[in-house]
Symmetry: C2
Subunit: 203 residues, 2 copies
Amino acid sequence: MSDGTKSRARTMGPMARWQPHAPERLLVAALELFEERGYENTTVIEITERAGLTKSTFFRHFRDKREVLFGGGAMSGLLATGIDTAPAGAAPLEAVAHALEVIGREAFTSDRREFSARRSAVIAANPELREREALKKLGLIATMTGALERRGVPDLTARVAAELGALAWEIAFERWRGTASRDDFAELARQALTQVRAACALC
Amino acid sequence: MSDGTKSRARTMGPMARWQPHAPERLLVAALELFEERGYENTTVIEITERAGLTKSTFFRHFRDKREVLFGGGAMSGLLATGIDTAPAGAAPLEAVAHALEVIGREAFTSDRREFSARRSAVIAANPELREREALKKLGLIATMTGALERRGVPDLTARVAAELGALAWEIAFERWRGTASRDDFAELARQALTQVRAACALC
DNA sequence: ACAGTGACGGGACTTGGTCCCATCACCATA
DNA sequence: TATGGTGATGGGACCAAGTCCCGTCACTGT
């Protein structure tokens, strides 16, 4: 950091005070480094150096080192609106299916497939990151449960439907990010939900 | 730590090199401090001082600060044997019910009720601890899924049954640790599982 | 022209966590 | 009785995560 021209624009135009998209640059740098040498062998300072920033800025954008991979926290809102906007007469799992379609349309678009796969691989390789992911999942289940209860679904039924929905999501996501399938997420989610419902009957 | 007599036996008998039960003493000290001033306002050194030990010893027994509340890792083994020893013809959820009974007999005995309640309250009050708990839960679900698959239950069915079993466990545990109920855990687990199964049919 | 704003730089500081080595009661064996 | 090994602990150096506070300076509106 002793180089004064560190992150100076490489263009010749009038100097912009800062390069734009700091959080995204940090995310890209972090993902690359985690892939190269692993999460625990990467320091926050190394991430910020690659992004042309500093430790202060990193922690201004992310609560902690893990959170850089979980910043896209729009999922919760999408799930809630997806359930809220489901047809009035829809059964709990149908409302969940509707939410998964919204997710597929708004978040799991095909242009983000490769990135999602890389991110998932990094997370799967590290217990700390899996831990954070598990907590996020709990939050999403709570969101779905709450949204279902607002539709008048009884407490326990809502909880079960949310849990089964989360399971279908996981299964669909596993398939979606796999290189083989070119289906879109909504289609895979519908299939997974149907299979989960069938498996439920065998319990 | 400059006091040479720090953790010297308070009895007059021949000096024992160390006070016994170091991990348990650390757990008790940690739980007390977390209750008094909260998890994040408690340092590891304060825990070790109350237990009459040092930081080195703490991290020799526990991987990190959170793990002091999650040391009793016998659950996984109990669950696995509980499912393995279920009657041969039992349906997946019946095998899970058998496992929950084993848990109730071996781990959630009534003399540990108050302690469990205190521990749960501390965990609920802190996101870091909830995060660790979420990861532990994933591990238990994986254990149950694996045990069910060894019984010949198909992949997805096992996963669903394990998930529903975990949900029933949570519900039963919430009720068990509540001050009102004097039922034993196995009974509450059976009820919860029945209710979950019923809710499942309404999805 | 000028003060306010807001994202960033930077450094001091606390704490979690790792590593390595010293200590010393206990124990087995001679 | 002597002697050497064992194993849980003490202790301190060290690194990285995360917090706090303050300075900088292009941009912006008046």
